[in-house]
Amino acid sequence: MVELRNVSVTYSNGVDALHDVSLRINDGEFAFVVGESGAGKSTLIKLLLKEITPTSGRIMVNGFNLEKLKKSKAHKLRRTIGFVFQDFKLINTMNVYDNVAFVLRSIDAPIKYIRNRVPYVISLVGLKDKAKSFPTELSGGEQQRVALARALVNDPQLIIADEPTGNLDPKTSLEIVELLKGINECGTTVMMVTHEHELVRHFGGRTITIKDGRITFDDYIG
């Protein structure tokens, strides 16, 4: 569950990135967050990852009160969230298997569990035959699937996808959103940030529009 109450962010250069934003995404929901460049979408994601702290307001993510959560303990919050980014954010020196397994290794998961879980998740995103490939050997769509597998492997409560289709062709974009929808149907909350209105109209559902740091629309479409 994600909840923001009267959250504002003003950067040190005086830019008001978010202004009095209140928002609630319940467990099991799928929500699109749309907005043009500079609208405040990235700031919202940074807040949810505790990369930055708000100037004012209160944020709760998966039961963590981010106001009280120390930066040094941010890993505890991040382990409950799966991330998917526009630029995939894969470690190029690790193969697909190791990129996905890294999340489980970092939480000291048993080796036996890792050996079972990682191939299963890789096959879920349709990359069973690419486990030993390196990110640079994969297409954009395949890399995004690896990122999805990595986001899924720890069975997170929430998946945050930041422009996951930004670098993909329309067909692959549809496949990725369909995968996210599938994950959501299994009970995981999904928040997908995008500026592609076409895609949002195609899938429909809860849509939150941010403009100039304010929420200007929050309703179901389609």
Binding site: L49, E51, K71, S72, A74, H75, K76, R78, R79, F83, K89, L90, I91, T93, F102, V103, R105, S106, I107, R150, N154
Partner: protein, 298 residues
């Protein structure tokens, strides 16, 4: 832990260009420091060798008999900073003088001396700490029965000054070398971490703890440091032994300087390997970990 250790070792190969660069920088830094240390230690040994030849000779009055001389010997022995006292009789002195004059006419020359030996009895004294010779001589001078004292005070003062000067200069050079090396090594570590800042940021985002991220970097740095230490030790030992061989071919200059030769390699080889490896591991290991800090603030 096995994974983290393995990851550190794997990273050395994955980032091999930076690993080779770090290895070279570490090795050269250690070599420079090591050779400077050895040079300084050898110079100190030369100076100490010369110092050890020091001898103070105390000439006694003619009226000092053997009982009084024996009492004086005991008193001198108990003076602080006196290492040894040897009584040197006037007869021995005369005999030595004859022997030192390798001339056919020596006997004829000494026949003029007749029965009367004009040389005085004396004590030959060795000083423990040459830098403290002046107060020791003052203590000796207070004794009755002393005619005069012959001591290489001026020479010793020059040597002591030279030793102090070499000590200060080498300390300054060493300190500068260590500082420069630290800066270069930490820059190399920073550069090797810098190209992986994206990797570190991703690790942080997927929930890895700082320790989990730092350990492979630490392992990597320590291993490279140890490797550079061992390599630098081998080069130093080989270079030093070859240098000694060349310099020892003509020992004349060193014998003139009354030195005891160079420091034998066996005296420092083990210490050198341990010191180099430890220094390499500590500087490289911690340097690498310190360099990751700013990227861990994600």
């Amino acid at each position: 832990m096995n994974y983290l250790f393995g990851q550190g070792m794997k990273n050395i190969w994955t980032n091999r260009i930076m690993s080779v660069a770090s290895f070279c920088i570490l090795s050269v830094s250690l070599l420079l420091i090591g050779f400077t240390l050895l040079f300084t230690a050898n110079i100190n040994r030369f100076v100490s060798g010369v110092e050890n030849k020091n001898e103070v000779v105390i000439f006694l009055d003619d009226n000092v008999d053997s009982t009084m001389a024996s009492a004086m010997e005991n008193t001198i022995k108990n003076i602080q900073n006196v290492e040894s006292v040897v009584f040197y009789s006037k007869d021995e002195a005369l005999e030595d003088m004859k022997n030192s004059m390798e001339s056919d006419n020596a006997d004829e020359l000494f026949s003029y001396v007749g029965e009367e030996n004009p040389l005085p009895d004396a004590f030959r004294i060795r000083i423990a700490d040459i830098e403290e010779i002046s107060p020791t001589l003052m203590d000796i001078n207070r004794l009755d029965g002393i005619d005069s004292i012959k001591s290489p005070t001026d020479f010793i003062n020059i040597l002591t000054g030279l030793k102090r000067f070499i000590g200060i200069v080498s300390a300054v050079i060493l300190l500068a070398l260590i500082l420069v090396s630290l800066v270069i090594i930490s820059n190399a570590a920073r550069a090797s971490v810098d190209i992986r800042k994206r990797e570190i940021a991703i690790m942080k985002l997927v929930g890895a703890t700082n320790t989990f991220i730092k350990v492979p970097f630490f392992v990597e740095g320590m291993f490279l440091g140890a490797l550079a230490g061992i390599f630098a030790s081998a080069v130093t030992c080989f270079g030093y032994s070859e240098l000694i061989k060349v310099l020892s071919q003509d020992m004349t200059i060193w014998s003139i300087m009354s030195v005891n030769g160079f420091i034998p390699m066996g005296e420092f080889a083990v210490k050198l390997v341990i010191g180099y490896a430890a220094a390499g591991m500590i500087i490289s290991g911690f340097g690498t970990v310190m360099s990751t800090r700013k990227y861990l603030k994600v």
